[in-house]
Amino acid sequence: MQNAKKKERKIISLVIVVILLLLAPLFISNYILYLAGVIMIMAIVAQGLNTMIGWGAIFSFGQPGFMAFGAYFGAIVSRQFPMLPFPIILIVTGMASALIGLVIGFPCLRLRGFFLAMATYGFSSALFVLINFFNNLTGGNEGMYVSPPTFGPLVLGSIEAIFIMIVLIGVIAQFFVSNISKSKTGHAWRSIRDGEIAAASLGINIAREKLKLFTFGSCLAGVGGVLYAYLIGYLQADFFSSMGLSFFLILVVGGIGTIWGPLLGSVMILLIPQVFGGVFSQSMNLVYGAILLIFVLVAPKGFLGLFESLITSVQSRRKA
C-alpha cells in the first residue's frame, strides 16, 4: 500500500538524520554544537507552547517561568544529590515541572483566553521574583554554577556529550508529541479548541483535558530548562525572563500546530543573529519585530504553512 511505503521512507530518513546528528560532534566545532544545542532546547520548550496553543488554544505566557523552574530545580537537585545519575534527574525534573504545571494550571484554566494568558504571566513573573528572593538557594542574580550530569562514575562534562544527550531527549520528546497528536487525547484537545460545547456533549471532560494539556506543555518546558542548565553550566534568573516573547516568535515563524514547526522556527530565529550578527547587533529587536510583522501579515501559518500552500497550489495546477 502506498501509505505504508511512505511511512517507511519517512521513518528511514528520520533515523538517518538522527544518526548524523549523533555523529556530528566528531566533525563540528564546539561553538556550533553549542548553538545547535540551544536551538534544540528552545524547540523543545516551544513545542510545549505549541501543543498548548495549537491544540488547545491555551495562550500561556508562562513557558519561560516553567523553563526557569526546571533549570533551577534540576541544578539544585544535582547539587544536593551529586550521586544521582542524570536520567533520574531529568525524569524527576520533568515530573516536578508537570506538578508545578498542575498546581498553576488548576486555578488559571478556569479563566478564558486572554485572562488565562495574563494569569500565567503573573505566575511566571512571580516565579522569577521568588527565584531572586531565595538567592541563598539559587544564587539569584549573581548566578549559580551547574555541575555536569553524571552517570555513576561517568561525568559528561564535555559539550559533545551534552549535545548528544540533548539530541536523544529531543528525539524522545518529538516521538511522544507525535504519538499524543494521533491519539484520542490529542484529538480531544483539538476538539476542545474547535468547539468546547460540542466537545463536552461528546463526553470530553473539558477541565481535566485542559489541565492535562497544560501539565504536558509545562513538563516539556521544565525538561528543556534542565537541559539548558547542563548546556550552559551556569544559571542566572534573567536568562529566562528575557525569553518571554521568543517562543511566540519561534511559533509564528515555524507554524503553530504543526509537529515540526517549533524546530523549524527555532532554527530560523536563532540563526538570524548569526547571519546578521555584525551589522545589526544593536538592533536585533528591529529585525525580530520586522520578521514577526512580515510573517503575521503575509504568512500567518509560518514557514510550514507557506510550504503547505505551495504544495497544494502545485497539486491543483497539476489536476487542472
Binding site: 511522544f176 504519538n179 499524543i180 494521533k182 491519539s183 484520542k184 487525547t185 490529542g186 484529538h187 480531544a188 483539538r190 476538539s191 479548541r193 474547535d194 468547539g195 460545547i197 460540542a198 466537545a199 463536552a200 456533549s201 461528546l202 463526553g203 470530553i204 471532560n205 473539558i206 492535562k212
Partner: protein, 262 residues
Amino acid sequence: MNNTKDSILTLQDISIRFGGIKAVNHLNLDVKEQEIFAIIGPNGAGKTTAFNIISGLYRAQEGTVLFSGTDITQLLPHQIAHLGMGRTFQNLELFTLMTVEDNLMAARHMHTKTNFWNELVRNNKVKQEEDRNREKVHHILSFLKLQDIANKNVTDLGFPLQKRVELGRALALEPKLLLLDEPAAGLNFVETSELSQLILSIRKDLGITVLLIEHDMSMVMSISDRIIVLDYGKEICLGLPEEIQNDARVVEAYLGKRDSHA
C-alpha cells in the same frame, strides 16, 4: 395513558430564570424508552433552553432531571454524555477545522480504552482501539450514506450534509437517548422526508429514544409518538399528534387569540 415501557427521561418541575424572565417555568416531561417525542412551540418558548438543561449546559434553578433513573440535575455535560445522551445543536457545533471522519472519531473518546501512558508510546493497544473505533465510525457513515465524503473538511459541505454529519457524530457516541434540535431546519421537502425515515430507522434499528425540537409540523405529526407544546416556558398541551393538532390552546399559542387582532 398506561405505558408498559420505562421512562428514560423525566423532568420534574424544572424552572430556570435569566435575569427577570422565567425561560422555563415548572416544566414536567416524561419520555418513554424508544419513543419519538417532540417538543414544539413558538419561537422563544424555551425549547432549546429545556434541551440545554437536559444535556447539562445550564443548571436548573428548580426541579429535577432524571435520566434512566439517575438524577442528572447537577451533572456536567460530559458526565451526562457518559450516561448515554447525545445531542445536536440548533446552529450546528461541528468541529470546523476537522474532516467528517474526525468529527465522528471525536465522539468515540469515551469508548476508547487507552490511557495517556499507552498513548505516549503508541503501543499496539492504542492502534487496535483506533482501528476498532474507526471501523465503528465507518459503519455509521455508511448508515447515513456519508462514506464517500469521510475525508472532506466539514466546511466544504453544504448545510444539509453538515447537519447529517452532526447527527452522525451524535450517533457515534452510541447514545441511548438522542436530542435533536431542529434537525429539519433549512432542509427542503425531499431532504425532510429522508430525515424522517432516518429518525424512524434510528429508533427501529438502533433502539435509540429520540427527543426532538421541530418547527416542521408535517414531519412532527408524521413521526412523533407524543408531542408537548411549550409557550413562555410552560406546557400548553401534551398528547398524541391527533390530539395536539386539534387543540385550541395550541392554535392560540402559535397564532395568538382571535380577539387580539384589531
